[in-house]
Amino acid sequence: MSVNETITLPGVGRQLIDDQPSGATQGDLTDALIGTDVWSDQMVAEAGIPVVDVPFVTVGGGIGSFIMADFLRVAGLPTSSIKALGANPEPWTTYEYLTRVSQIPRQERLRSDSGSCPDNLWGFPAYSIREAWEAKGLTKKLDPLWNVLTEPILTDYYTPRAGQVFNAMEKEARRIGWSEMHVQGLVRMTRRRTGGGYFTIFTPEVNTTGTKRVAYRSTYVHLAIGYPGLRFLDDLQAYRQTYEDYTRVANAYEPHEHVYDELRRKPGTVVVRGGGIVASRVLQRLIDDRDNHGAQTQIIHLFRTYVDSSHGPSPFMRRKGKDGWAYQGFNWPKGAWGGQLKFRLEKLEGDQRKALYQTMGGTNTPHRKLWLKQLARGRAEGWYQTEIGEVAEVVPGEGGTVVTRINTARGQLEIPANHVVDCTGLEADIREHRVLADLMDHSGAGRNVMGRLDVEKTFQVRGTDAAPGRIYAVGSATLGGYYCGVDSFLGLQYACLQVADDLARQRFVKRIGPGRSLRQWWRRMRGAQP
C-alpha cells in the first residue's frame, strides 16, 4: 500500500495508467486546452486529438454507467449512440473488489433489497423470486419467498447473494450489447464545447489511434464515477506515515487477509473501529475464524458514538439501537428511496435539508440474528469487549503491538493490540477525483449543502449546461442533493430513470411509458435485445 492519502481502488486510483505514456506522444492535451474553459472544435483539432462523435457518453463504466446504458437501450437508443468509458473490464469490478475485501465474497449476501436490481429496470422478478426459481428442492425454493414475505417482522431482511447480482448483470450486459458501448481506458476531463455539447478527453487503454488522447464529442455526458476515493481515519493515517507500518493497521476496504491469517496462527488482540455494516462483517469474520479455525482472538470494539437504546427526535422518528449499534435495514430508512421520506427531503433546501440528512443518516448496521448471537456469546465468554471514546493517537507498543490511546469518560485509556482494523469507511472529498475537480474548476459545477456535487432533481449538474447539451451525475458524488439514496442499486436506478425521463422530455429518447415498459419487460424476459 502506498503512502497516498486515499485508498487505491481498481479504477479509482488510476493516476498510474494515466501517466504512463501509451507509446504515443502526439495528440495530447496542450496548455491552451487545459487553460481554456470552453473548447472549440478547432482547438481540439489543432492539438491533434482525434474526435469521436457520439450523442451520449457515460463516464465511469461501473454499475451507474451500466444501469444508465440499460435504461437508454430500453428507451429506444441504439448501442451506436452510447459510449461507456471506464478503466475496468466489467461494470461490477470495483464493487466486487470492495465487497470482497470487506468480507462479502460472491456466496455471501449483500445489504440490498430484493427488488434493487441493477440488471432489471422494473425490479421484477426480484432477486428473491429468481433465487426461489433457480433453487433445487422445495425448502430451498420456499426459503427466499417466505423471507421476503415476512421481512423484517418475523425474519431479517432478505438480501441477495453478491454472486447472483453479478451473474444477473453479466447476462443483461450481453442482452443490451454492453461490449459494443464500453471502451476501456481513463477519462481525464469533460469540457464544454463552443456551439453546445461537450468534449470528454479519454486515454484509451489500447492505443488504436496513434495518439495519446481521444476526444468524445457528445451532446450529453453522464458522470457515474463512483466513490471519488476512500480515506483513512486521520490518526491511523498519521500512524502509518510516521512509523511506516502498513501491516498492523488496516482499512477494511483494502486487502487485509494477513490480519486474519496471523490471528489464526497465534492468539492476538484486534481493535475494530466503527459501528457500521463493515464493522459487523469484520467481526463476523473474526468470530467465524474463532469458531471454525480455533483462533483465540480477543476483540476490542471501539465506538466513538455508542448507541444504547432507541434514538431520534420524536416518537415518529425513532430508530432502534442497542449495545453500541444503531439498527436499520439499509443505509437509509426504507421510505427515503421512494416513500414519505423521499418526498419530504425533495422539498427541502439548505440547512433544513442538511438537518433531515443528519436525522436519517449516521452510522448504522442491519439487524441480523447471526451477528447478535455471535456478539452476545463473545460478551458472555469475555473475548468481545467494547470501549467508547475519541482516539487521541495511535503509537507503536511493545513486542510489535500497536497502542490506541483513547479519551473516555473514565480518562485516557491505552489499548494495546496486534492489529487495528478501520471499518469507518470515510469517503474522500469530491476533488480527489480528477474529473470532478476539473468540472468544478472549468465547467461551472458547484457543491451542495453536504459539500458534494450539486445536482437538480433530474440529476443534471447545476451550472454546467452547454445548450442543448447537459451533464448529469449519479451516485455517491451527488449525496446531499434532493435524493439521499444515491449510493445504492435502487438509488442508481432512480437517478438513471430521472435522467432517462429528462432526456425523453428533450426528445432524445422515447419515454418509457406503460406500453413501452410492458413490451420491453417482455423482451427482457425472453432474453431478446431491447
Partner: protein
C-alpha cells in the same frame, strides 16, 4: 460513509399512493378477477338458494346475474372500506422509523379487513343481494374475498411495476 453494498427498498407507500393503489387495483384487477371467478363460485342449496348451477333461474333472474350483483357490490364496499383502512395504516406507519409498510402487514391485514366486510355485509350494508350471499353462501363469499385479495396482493407486489416503472419511486402513486 462508504457502504457499497447498500440497497434500497420495495414500495414504501405515501398516503396518496396508498389510496390510488387501493382504488386502481381493486377496481381494475379485482374487477377483472371478480368477472372471471364469479360464475365458478360454489352456490350450495341453502337459505333461499336451491341450486348449484349458476345459469339456472333465480328469483326471475339467472342465478349468475344475481351473484354478480352481490360480488360487485361487495367489491365496491371493500374498495370504500379499504380507503378508510389506508388512513389507519398510514397513521400506524408514522410510528415506523423506516416509513415503510412491510409485505407481511399487507398480507395479514386480510384478517381484519375480511372480518369487517363480513360483519357489515351480514347486516346488509352492501345491499340485500350481498347480504343473501354472505349469510347463506359463506363458502362462496370467502372464496371470492380471499381469492380477490390474493390476486391483488400479488399484483401489487411485483407485476404493477411492469406497467409503471416509476411506481416504486412515487410511494405507490400511479398518476
Amino acid at each position: 460513509m462508504v457502504a457499497p453494498d447498500a440497497g434500497g427498498a420495495a414500495v414504501t407507500p405515501t398516503l396518496f399512493g396508498r389510496i390510488q393503489t387501493r382504488i386502481f387495483v381493486l377496481i381494475v384487477i379485482g374487477g377483472l378477477w371478480t368477472l372471471v371467478i364469479t360464475p365458478f363460485l360454489p352456490i350450495l342449496p341453502n337459505g333461499g338458494f336451491d341450486a348449484g348451477l349458476v345459469f339456472t333461474e333465480f328469483s326471475g333472474d339467472r342465478l349468475v346475474d344475481f351473484v354478480y350483483e352481490a360480488a360487485f357490490s361487495i367489491l365496491l364496499g371493500v374498495t370504500i372500506l379499504g380507503v378508510l383502512w389506508e388512513l389507519l395504516y398510514h397513521l400506524l406507519q408514522q410510528f415506523r422509523w423506516e416509513k415503510d409498510w412491510p409485505t407481511f402487514f399487507g398480507a395479514i391485514t386480510i384478517v381484519n379487513e375480511g372480518l369487517l366486510v363480513w360483519l357489515l355485509g351480514r347486516y346488509g350494508v352492501f345491499g340485500s343481494d350481498a347480504e343473501a350471499v354472505i349469510n347463506d353462501q359463506p363458502l362462496a363469499f370467502w372464496l371470492l374475498f380471499t381469492s380477490t385479495w390474493v390476486v391483488t396482493f400479488l399484483f401489487v407486489n411485483g407485476p404493477i411495476r411492469i406497467l409503471s416503472p416509476r411506481y416504486r419511486f412515487r410511494g405507490g402513486r400511479l398518476i
